[in-house]
């Protein structure tokens, strides 16, 4: 017997739902409803509203759906759309008195209730509901009757069913001596059938059973040998043994993973613009491994949402975290980083909502959800969990969009795992230290030892914190400010994409910030300036375009007189100029540091050994046949000149009179914040200039040293991001806490400036006044500079990171998630517009669901644990429902993606809850749940349907007979390959490029895309399971597409199932299928002897798991005879047909014979019975 959790039959379990007893009689109206309502869900509602007048209506099942679909868009949760101040989704607001309005609902008195008056009104202006255009859309009489009855019964509201925690219901009473039921599933199914006056069907034949269950659990057909063994096994446990064997097969994991990849939106390309390839197939293999090892679903979930934050013993959780980054992403040249970042976080929250919560949270992007209680705040608080990953918002069109992990080769795996385990231990210690930040920091403050020292504000002339977050004015908070504030010019900056000390500020387009005569120093005066910068944070960022003036008081109209802090191809320079040529060009004779192309300097998990090749955007493969190489030109590169020459300006021959000092090495190309600062001692020589990055002095080259006491003063204003008036912009650069001192800061002061000074500023205030961001800043300073155990731990971790990099050398790369140290926040975006930032919200779970445990950080790990916590009402229900959908063809809740108010009501609410609780209490045992389902008598029924059943329950939602439906795209191709013996079933690895008609990719792709040309592979790659077929989002495999496989742009939790002529064309004509038919023909000729009946028999056994019934055999034999005659008469046609496909044919079979059999095999492959489960 199936293992059932011990407490399943506890007699005193509370039943959450009232038995779905018939509820009321509404005269003749009900008669019309009887048919559909009796079978449930036909109209999506009123499953119980029929029959005897013994029970009350159920609000959730009977009433709420009517209110929701007719009333909530104007009288629901969204305040913007609400009319007449009436809100009907909540009990307290529905009954609230509204001055000047009659009561909408008077419990017990439908006649006095305005709601009823309005829906029954004869006056079209008065009649409700109305469309947004003011058109009346009268309700159905049956629905009106239900509302009247509900009010008559007292208008009782109840919370939405799916948001209540499921509690295991008692099993319904079925007939005592019933010997149909095999496990609790059947009790629920049978009880419901009985209520509808229906009966279950007899058990299917053993042949049907083995085929059905093998397809469901492995996605493949049973072999004739397996069928025979099963048929011969008389033991009562034969079926259970079969199920156990199937669950233990490696192909089981593949089949489950195939479904999961839809839910997780797995694909091999980025999906937008160039739609380039990316490395993430190791995630797919992780999913297969997880199902095969029967990893508990809670662990599986946590690893995917937050594997990077888990204490790990191997690399698997990190690979799993790639789930977060599976969505589509862009690198379109003109794209705006803030918009991309908002879109990415939104995409992830929506995918999470669909797959784990079964909610359409994305509806709250622009406004509070119209039906569900998901508020806009809830939605953005959810996006915040996914908004704190250490990544750029554009993918660089690279297969590796950091962070990525490199997977160790098998030989190094053990050593790697040991280091990971050790690293996790240390990271855990570090985390637990940091979790005591309040205590440790208070102790530190009380000790008054090594407290953070501020940099004296002596001669601080300018301090732009740039924390305004919006508006027109930038405040100068320097105590000696000449000017207390500055007005932003006409073109606005972008605010607040990436939090550093506070939400940031980015120069955009032609944003101009003029700072007046601030910084008007002479060449013999000492001064220092700099701040936090994120240089060039835009798509297609390379060292080459990390160029421009960061801070400048320099007049390009006056031969660049003045001073500035600039970058040139990533190299930081300081210039003090009396005069110099345009662009501060230096003569070629002068030694200028050459930018060294540095590797991306990431820590674990991103390996430090990413080569320039890894990091280069992929190029489109050249197509040999194309006469000309495409002029691949990326949009991002298009700021260059048009092809025809533009007028060349005359060369500027101004001599250099000034100082120029440059760093010897460029900044790393990682898009991270850097504190860049310089000091100048007023000596008039280059040696008086020092440059600091993140507080540490950097090596410099003196490029020019020719100031010779000449003046550097100018009337031009100091500017951010430009040399006056608008030369040499430092494009797309973010700024924070910009300072200017009228003195040379000492090296110690420069060191304190980036972190310590700010911490000192915060701790000068009482700790209870600190904001969360301030706590974070102080905490960072304390743990990085004061707390010796923390410093030691970090050093050890750093060493282990280096080891991990070494141990994973030459391994495969995969995209992963990696959390930034900052606090996850998001801004509510008004109407979903990325630039319309409203309140800043901390990551949090929706308010109408259980709260996160107090005292824990609100990060992805917290979300992950919450997702599978015992209190979460959704995850278990949503997951078992999807399992049910996979096995039975329709979920108990048909809308697998929507358990909200507008979603379908469950056809069997108690069963759903029973399964959900069973799942959780079994320890989230996935195999156990599938076993339960396939062991049930419900599942084992014959699929034969009677006209009565078809009439009463056309969708078979009550399951009066077994499931039968057309198989999914992948399964169809797989069984063609399997039955013909072509299947190459190796598990995992990079995706395969099988047969594809010409010109599919070219038709849609950008010239510069690396998926412009499809390069079909040969040999084994042609015959691998379809789940390994290369998934290009902009053009998925056309044979998969024809059979409703999704593009995987978004999570798809159930596929459409259509039957179109295009599908018949695939299975009749696709080379893959014709080749499979030929191979199947060869196989039966080879294996079944010369007798045609035996060959047909084998073919039938292979595809249908049974002998061909006589009428079928007669048709096939007749067809065979015709085909034989035809091909005997047309040898050329025979030769052509048997030559289809790359697999070499068996030359020993005469072509005419093989061709005839190929057509018969094709007939068999195209049968309704073959393509149907």
């Amino acid at each position: 017997m199936v293992k059932i959790c011990p407490n399943r039959l506890g007699p005193n379990r509370i039943v959450q739902y009232k038995p779905r007893q018939p509820a009321l009689v509404i005269g003749s109206i009900c008669a019309g409803l009887l048919l559909s309502a009796a079978v449930g869900c036909h109209t999506g509602q009123s499953t119980g509203a029929i029959g005897h007048n013994t029970q009350h209506l159920d609000f959730n099942q009977d009433v709420q759906p009517i209110l929701a679909s007719n009333c909530f868009s104007c009288h629901g949760p969204d305040p913007e759309m609400r009319k007449a101040g009436l809100r009907l989704d909540l009990e307290e607001s529905a009954f609230r008195k509204r001055p000047g309005h009659p009561d909408a609902i008077v419990p017990g008195h439908p006649d006095q209730s305005e709601l009823i008056k309005r829906i029954e009104s004869k006056d079209p202006h008065h009649l409700m509901p109305q469309s947004p255009q003011g058109e009346a859309k009268p309700m159905k009489p049956a629905d009106i009757a239900v509302l009247k009855e509900w009010i008559k019964e007292g208008a009782v509201y109840r919370p939405h069913w799916a948001f209540d925690k499921p509690i295991r219901p008692a099993l319904p009473a079925v007939a005592q001596n019933d010997n149909w039921t095999k496990n609790p599933i059947d009790d629920f199914i049978l009880a419901r059938l009985k209520k509808a006056g229906m009966h279950p069907s007899p058990e299917a034949s053993k042949e049907v059973m083995i085929r059905r269950v093998t397809l469901d659990l492995t996605g493949l057909l049973p072999t004739p040998g397996e069928v025979r063994a099963f048929l011969k096994d008389p033991s009562p446990d034969a079926y259970e043994h079969l199920v156990d064997r199937l669950l233990a097969k490696p192909v089981y994991g593949e089949e489950r993973a195939r479904h999961w990849l839809d839910y997780a939106r797995y694909a091999d390309t980025y999906g937008i613009h160039l739609d380039n390839s990316r490395d993430i197939w190791p995630y797919r293999d992780y999913v297969i491994r997880s199902f095969n090892s029967n990893k508990p679903f809670d662990q599986f979930t946590i690893e995917q949402i937050a594997g990077d934050l888990l204490p790990a013993k191997n690399i698997d959780p990190l690979i799993a975290s790639g789930y977060v980054r599976l969505g589509a992403s862009s690198n379109e040249g003109g794209a705006i980083p803030e918009e991309l970042r908002a879109n990415i976080a939104r995409e992830r929250a929506e995918a999470y909502g669909a797959t784990f919560m079964g909610l359409t949270v994305g509806c709250a992007v622009c406004h509070d959800h119209k039906y569900d209680p998901t508020s806009q705040k809830d939605f953005y608080a959810l996006t915040a969990f996914f908004n704190n990953i250490d990544e750029k918002p554009f993918n660089g069109d690279r297969p590796v969009w950091t962070p990525v992990a490199r997977i160790p080769k098998a030989a190094n795996q053990e050593a790697y795992d040991r280091v990971v385990t050790k690293r996790s231990e240390l990271a855990g210690q570090l985390a637990s230290l940091r979790s005591q930040e309040r205590v440790l920091i208070s102790r530190w403050l009380a000790s008054r030892q090594h407290l953070a020292q501020p940099v004296p504000t002596d001669k601080l002339d300018l301090r732009l914190r740039l924390d305004e977050g919006g508006g027109e004015i930038l405040k100068n908070s320097a105590p000696h400010a000449q000017q207390a504030s500055f007005t932003i010019g006409k073109f606005k900056p972008q605010w607040g994409e990436t939090t550093w000390l506070w939400p940031d500020f980015r120069m955009d387009a032609s944003t101009h910030i003029a700072l007046g005569q601030t910084g008007d120093y002479e060449g013999n005066e000492a001064f220092s300036s700099g701040g936090w910068f994120m240089v060039r944070s835009a798509p297609n960022y390379t060292l080459d375009n990390a160029t421009g003036a960061l801070l400048s008081k320099m007049d390009t109209n006056q031969h660049n007189r003045g001073w500035d802090l600039s970058v040139e191809k990533g190299i930081v320079s300081v210039e003090l100029v009396n005069e110099a040529p345009k662009g501060l060009k230096v003569p070629k004779t002068v030694a200028v540091p050459k930018p060294i192309v540095k590797k991306e300097g990431f820590e674990y998990p991103t390996p430090v050994d990413l080569t320039p090749k890894d990091l280069a955007p992929n190029k489109p493969p050249e197509k040999k046949s194309s006469p000309k190489k495409p002029e691949a030109k990326k949009e991002g590169a298009k700021t260059g000149e048009p092809k025809a020459p533009a007028p060349k300006p005359a060369e500027d021959t101004t001599p250099w009179v000034g100082i120029k000092v440059s760093a010897t090495e460029p900044l790393p190309v990682d898009g991270h914040w850097r504190h860049i600062f310089f000091t100048y001692d007023g000596s008039g020589t280059a040696s008086g200039v020092k440059i600091y990055v993140d507080g540490a002095p950097v090596g410099v080259t003196v490029v020019m040293n020719k100031l010779a006491q000449k003046t550097i003063r100018t009337q031009a204003p100091m500017q951010l991001g430009w040399r006056y008036p608008d030369a040499d912009p430092a494009r797309e650069t973010r700024y924070q806490d910009i300072r200017l001192y009228g003195r040379a800061l000492t090296p110690e002061e420069a060191k304190r400036l980036p972190f310590e000074d700010y911490a000192a500023e915060v701790i000068s205030k009482p700790a209870d006044k600190w904001s969360r961001d301030e706590w974070h800043a102080v905490s960072d300073f304390y743990f990085n500079n004061v707390d010796q155990s923390s410093i030691a731990l970090q050093e050890q971790i750093q060493q282990l990171n280096t080891k991990l990099g070494k141990l994973s050398e030459a391994g495969d790369l995969t995209l992963v998630a990696w959390e930034k140290p900052s606090i996850p926040y998001a801004n509510i975006l008004t109407r979903g517009v990325y630039s319309a930032r409203a309140d800043r919200v901390e990551a949090n779970t929706p308010h109408f669901l259980p709260a996160l445990p107090s005292g824990e950080a609100h990060n992805r790990l917290a979300l992950a644990k919450w997702t599978v916590s015992g209190d979460n009402p959704l995850t278990a229900r949503v997951t078992v429902n999807r399992m049910w959908n996979e096995i039975f063809g329709a979920g108990l809740v048909e809308t697998t993606e929507d358990f909200g108010i507008m979603g379908q009501r469950p056809s069997h609410p108690e069963l759903l809850d029973w399964l959900a609780v069973e799942f959780r209490e079994s320890g989230w045992d996935v195999k156990h749940m599938y076993k339960l389902m396939v062991m049930s008598a419900t599942y084992r029924q014959s699929a034969k349907s009677t006209p009565e059943q078809l009439t009463a329950d056309p969708k078979n939602l009550l399951l009066a007979h077994g499931p039968r439906f057309r198989m999914d795209a992948e399964t169809l191709r797989d069984i063609a390959l399997e039955s013909s013996g072509l299947l190459v079933n190796t598990i995992g690895g990079p995706s395969a490029k099988t047969y594809q008609p010409a010109n599919i990719w070219e038709q849609v792709s950008h010239n510069a895309s690396d998926t412009l040309h499809y390069k079909q592979e040969h040999g084994d790659a042609l015959y691998r399971r379809s789940m390994y077929s290369y998934w290009k989002r902009m053009a998925i495999m056309p044979d998969m597409d024809a059979f409703d496989a999704p593009m995987r742009d978004a999570a798809c939790t159930r596929r459409q199932r259509t039957d179109t002529p295009l599908q018949a064309l695939v299975t009749m004509n696709d080379v893959q299928w014709v080749e499979a038919a030929r191979a199947l023909a060869e196989r039966v000729i080879r294996e079944a002897g010369t007798n045609p009946q035996q060959r047909l028999q084998l073919m039938s056994e292979l595809l249908l798991s049974h002998d061909p019934p006589a009428p079928m055999a007669a048709v096939l034999e007749n067809s065979l005879a015709q085909m034989q005659k035809h091909y005997a008469a047309d040898p050329k046609a025979a030769q052509e047909l048997v030559g289809v496909g790359e697999k070499k044919r068996n030359e020993s079979i005469p072509p005419a014979e093989l061709a005839a059999w190929t057509m018969v095999a094709s007939e068999m492959l195209n049968l309704d019975e073959t393509v149907t489960k």
Binding site: S69, S131, I901, N1007, G1139
Partner: protein, 517 residues
């Protein structure tokens, strides 16, 4: 409304009972026509009009086939789709989509005063605080690039047309030129999605899918909605397109566009494999159908019937599609009209000719994509090529439809996803310039059934930068197209995720009355 002799649209449901299937099955279907649950299980459908008529009630099929998350709202309560909502002026549409964003200033939006402003910066007051794309965002200057080409007046209407479009110039009196089209998206992906599906994010049904869903098919052996891609010219900057643009979103995937291809099979997998003749295919199908019939009798699964019809329709397409793609019977006058390019499969000219043939055969909606208009640089090098590839073909298609009496009830639409800037991207010289994306105004045109021809609608300022009169948003544009086809854009809805989804989205849109005939 004229009935074209070749058009199979008889204003009534096609009779699927003519399918070559066994007579007993035909009888059974006849009975089933009255039964409401024929295909009623988990949202199965065969697709296209024939199956809808199998159900005898398209609306019912519209409900049962809808996979999407039909809420508890009983969408049957809304009753039949009741389409068309009013007498349509156009029964079909052909959409010539100029992907990449054609530069309106160089084609139809004549700005004579710009010549004097060559290389002057565009005034800040004109640009306003507009967000620019990342591509020109860092430019220090925004110098005005007047069009390199001269404009002349044509037709009775005296419409100004660039020398680049000598053929389009010949039909200006038949066109409805809209200079005030404008969009909210500044980059290709969102902009092209918005034009095609009414939403910047993917996942929504496109115009063609909505039409298929709402109006169904006019023939029973070709798809309702077909998509043609024009050959790439690698000298042009081909922004990508993807099946999202002709996808069905939350509508059933049977409403998605079907590609008519110029290489290989005109419809994917259409051709029988080598060595399989029509006769063999018929034999094979007879066997398959006979066995499926046995299965049907044994198991009583309605889907088995659908399977039989599915295979029969595939078989019919194997004849009808090659006939569609076979140009051998086109008279010389066709080639004289469309030019030699039209003989080369996959050119834009060829696709225009195919669009006419599909219109004749009752294809409801044909979308032709021409990529390459993304002229960030080298306008004088690239734009003449683009115009040469498209100008004559557009003229030929409109003229051809007119001659055949099809233009009266066919709506032809010419549009890209946005316009281009008056200021030069990159360097400017008297010989050359570049133009960046420009969402605030772009020029489109329509002709044929439903629209008032021989007019120019809307105006832009003297820089072709801002709309100054009669703005037409993308929503309005789409609402107007639907109107011409007899559809109230507010009423063609589909319940998904609890909302009455529609092509024009939640923000109010209006049919542009000034464009209507």
């Amino acid at each position: 409304m004229k009935q074209h002799p070749l058009c199979t649209d008889t204003e009534c449901e096609p009779d699927v009972l003519n399918l070559p299937v066994p007579s007993e099955l035909r009888q059974e279907w006849a009975v089933l026509r009255t039964r409401r649950h024929f295909l009623g299980r988990t949202g199965k459908v065969l697709g296209w009009a024939a199956m809808a008529s199998l159900l005898g009630d398209r609306v019912l099929s519209g409900d049962t086939r809808l996979q999407g998350a039909k809420g508890p709202a009983d969408s049957q309560a809304a009753g039949p789709l009741k389409l068309p909502h009013f007498a349509p002026k156009a029964k079909r549409a052909i959409y010539l989509f100029m992907s990449g964003g054609p530069p309106q200033i160089d084609l139809l939006d004549y700005k004579p005063n710009l010549a004097a402003l060559y290389d002057k910066d565009i005034p800040d007051s004109v640009r306003g605080g507009q967000q620019l794309t990342g591509m020109t965002a860092g430019q220090a200057r925004f110098p005005i690039a007047p069009s390199h080409w001269a404009f002349k007046r044509y037709g009775k209407t005296g419409t100004w047309v660039s020398d680049l479009l000598p053929n389009t110039a010949q039909i200006v009196d038949d066109l409805t030129i809209i200079k005030s089209t404008n969009t909210e998206a500044i980059n290709h992906e969102p902009a092209i999605m918005l034009m095609n599906t009414g939403n910047m994010n993917s996942g929504k049904p496109c115009l063609g899918a909505w039409l298929s869903y709402g109006l169904g098919s006019m023939n029973d052996n070709l798809p309702t909605f077909m998509v043609l891609q024009s050959k790439l010219n690698m000298k042009e900057d081909n922004q990508p397109v993807s099946s999202r643009l002709w996808g069905s979103g939350f509508l059933s995937s049977e409403y998605a566009g079907v590609g008519l291809r110029s290489q290989g099979d005109p419809v994917l997998y259409l051709s029988d494999p080598n060595g399989v003749s029509h006769e063999v295919r018929r034999n094979m199908l007879d066997a398959v159908n006979a066995i499926n019939q046995q299965t049907s009798q044994e198991l009583g699964d309605p889907e088995t019937h659908a399977r039989i019809a599915q295979y029969e329709m595939a078989y019919r397409m194997q004849t009808s599609v090659p006939e569609l793609a076979d140009l051998s019977k086109e008279p010389k006058s066709t080639w004289d009209l469309y030019g030699p390019d039209a003989k080369e499969p996959g050119t834009f000219a060829y696709n225009c000719l195919m669009a006419r043939r599909m219109a004749e055969r009752g294809v409801r909606f044909t979308q032709v994509y021409k990529r390459g208009w993304d002229v960030h640089g080298n306008v004088t090098g690239t734009l003449p090529m683009l115009c040469q590839e498209t100008d004559r073909a557009c003229y030929a298609l409109v003229t051809d439809l007119k001659q055949r009496g099809l233009l009266d009830d066919t709506l032809v639409i010419w549009a890209g996803e946005f316009g281009r800037t008056v200021y030069s991207q990159g360097g400017l010289s008297p010989e050359n310039y570049g133009r960046d994306h420009h969402p605030r105004c772009f020029t489109t045109w329509m002709t044929g059934g439903g629209v008032r021809t021989g007019i120019t609608f809307g105006e832009t300022d003297e820089y072709s930068y801002n709309v100054v009169k009669d703005p037409v948003t993308v929503r309005d544009f789409n609402a107007t197209i639907l109107h011409c086809l007899g559809i109230d854009h507010n009423k063609l809805t589909y319940k998904f995720q609890g909302l009455d989804q529609k092509l024009t989205g939640p923000t109010p849109a209006s049919v542009v009355q000034g464009l209507l005939a």
